[in-house]
């Protein structure tokens, strides 16, 4: 808009060639301290900023990171989007990169979008979220030999950079915690089989149960999509079991299921916490204000974002990170819904 000031303007004012100015700005100059100081001063007075497009063209590096996420339906919160974006944007910014958003709603030809961004050299790398088994984006980006880091693992046979949160350890800790509260018959509210995240989480339940001893009744394990209504329905159904066989606590693989479970238990006249333990997963903002407040597993989202960017920048700049498969432990946040004296 306001007429742009370029290298040539700075050079003219400083009495040097514009290439010299470029070298000074990129700190790779052989110049006398005097000319260097002069150039910096002219840069400051003219308020010069390098034209990113020209730099991008010349260096074929856009300093842009592509980021896609899966939008949630509007009646559902995305508990981590805000924090994850803030974290990644901040880490990227510190290294001179920006985030370019693109939607993943277009399931039809996901790969075309990626191809396009790669071949038009719009972006230098990708952050891929919500990976599942055999996620097509992973082999695609590998085939294109394009830098990317995933939030979450995929097919275990594939070798690529990712940062993941150990859902197994999280659910295991929640289960263990309920056992320590004296529960013996503990049920599991899980997602349908086949999702990578869901499998990891449910394995945490089996691990803790078999380690600590309580027998598992297959009837205690119910599956459904991860929403509130499913939580209500499945829990109501579980509570139909004969008194001596029905669970006294439920581990849910996400907070929505857990909230449904709490409501169903309350409707059945149970005092959640005291008589009936419930735990969730994600530590969705707001669940600390429920009555009773909901125990949940909190993912270290901030750290995930930081590490993803760190890895990605290594990859984009051609370095090989020492450890490109990172698995972070989540943290159990104990609240009223799972403790007996609460």
């Amino acid at each position: 808009m306001t007429s742009r000031v370029t290298l040539k303007d700075v050079a003219a004012r400083a009495g040097v060639s514009y290439q010299t100015v470029s070298k000074v700005l990129n700190r790779q100059a052989n110049v006398t301290p005097e000319t260097e100081a002069l150039i910096w001063q002219v840069v400051a007075t003219l308020d010069y900023r390098p034209n990113i497009a020209a730099r991008t063209l010349r260096k074929s590096a856009s300093y842009l990171i592509g980021y896609s996420w899966t939008p949630q339906p509007p009646d559902r919160a995305n508990p981590i989007l805000d924090q994850f974006l803030t974290s990644t944007v901040e880490a990227a910014e510190a290294a001179g990169y920006h985030l370019l958003l693109f939607p993943s709603h277009n399931v039809v030809d996901q790969t075309q979008i990626y191809r396009n961004l790669v071949h038009s050299s719009r972006v230098d790398g990708f952050i891929v979220t919500g990976t599942n088994y055999d996620d097509p984006r992973v082999p695609l980006l590998q085939e294109l030999n394009f830098p990317f880091v995933a939030f979450g693992r995929a097919n275990p046979d594939w070798h690529f950079a990712y940062v993941d949160v150990d859902g197994r350890a999280g659910i295991s800790a929640a289960t263990q915690h309920l056992i320590e509260q004296g529960h013996q018959r503990i049920g599991l509210l899980a997602w349908p089989e086949g999702s990578r995240v869901g499998t990891a989480r449910q394995n945490g339940y089996f691990e803790a149960m078999t380690r600590a001893g309580p027998a598992i009744d297959p009837n205690w394990i119910v599956r459904g999509s991860g929403d509130f209504e499913t939580g209500v329905r499945c829990t109501t159904q579980l509570l139909q079991l004969p008194q001596a066989q029905r669970p006294t606590a439920l581990v849910a693989v996400d907070d929505h299921l857990a909230m449904g479970a709490m409501i169903a238990a309350q409707q059945a006249g149970l005092h959640v916490g005291q008589e009936f333990g419930v735990t969730g997963f994600d530590d969705t903002p707001g669940i600390q204000h429920l009555t009773p407040s909901l125990t949940s597993v909190r993912q270290p989202i901030w750290q995930v974002g930081q590490m993803i960017v760190e890895l990605l920048i290594d990859l984009m700049q051609g370095r090989t990170p020492a450890n490109a498969q990172i698995n972070l432990p989540p943290r159990l946040i104990v609240r009223q819904s799972s403790v007996r004296n609460g």
Copy 2:
């Protein structure tokens, strides 16, 4: 990564000059149908994609829109971020634009960040959210003569493009609804004075009350930051008033305050809905699952995003939109917390 294919490659293969290929791709060519078809075919077989950096440099248009938002603390959900981003990204994509995220956390020198993005021609325009009275970004962008559209108004004396949601109408509708439910003494949980959004919303309360008749007791109006704990505290305090003077319903200017109010009322032994009406604002995901479910005012976020992008594209392409000050009505979602037979 994979060796890029350029206009010249296409031209060589098609036996024309590369400029002609460019013209065909930009649909401004005078070419025979045969050569045109041939060029398109070669483009397809070589899988050519224009290099965005080169185009950006030449046209000095980056097809990038800068978007900044104010991150919420991690224990607080941002109820609209996901939907707003999805909406804007989708609308932008349809017009060939992408969104560039940048953080607004750096309060110290907000304007430097904007200046930088403008002068380096990183972006072609901005979406500015969370505007307040005398927001410094508005005059800055006006001075730079740079296209932008705000989500929300600012100083009423300034003339710029915005899309806003009529908070006054929303709170007015909520208040009106409580009056229709038979409430006469209705209180207001508001933010501290001085915020633009807060003022608009509280005015809706005054409007509906004076229009419909109930006298307003200044004691019914309490202010504090918009969080859950404040809602609890203020409501508890209100309920200390003598029985004959205390409100039988509360209008809250956001959902957090409303949730606090519900809990405080329940702790005071009141049956929310039946005996004590509560309404919120934002229709935060999840509040439909509270007991009782919370009546709230829903903003047409999707539409806001679409219209902002529409306006912005007009501005960026030099057109003058017919109506650049858009005020959208929100919608009251009535649930159990505000109805007497609920």
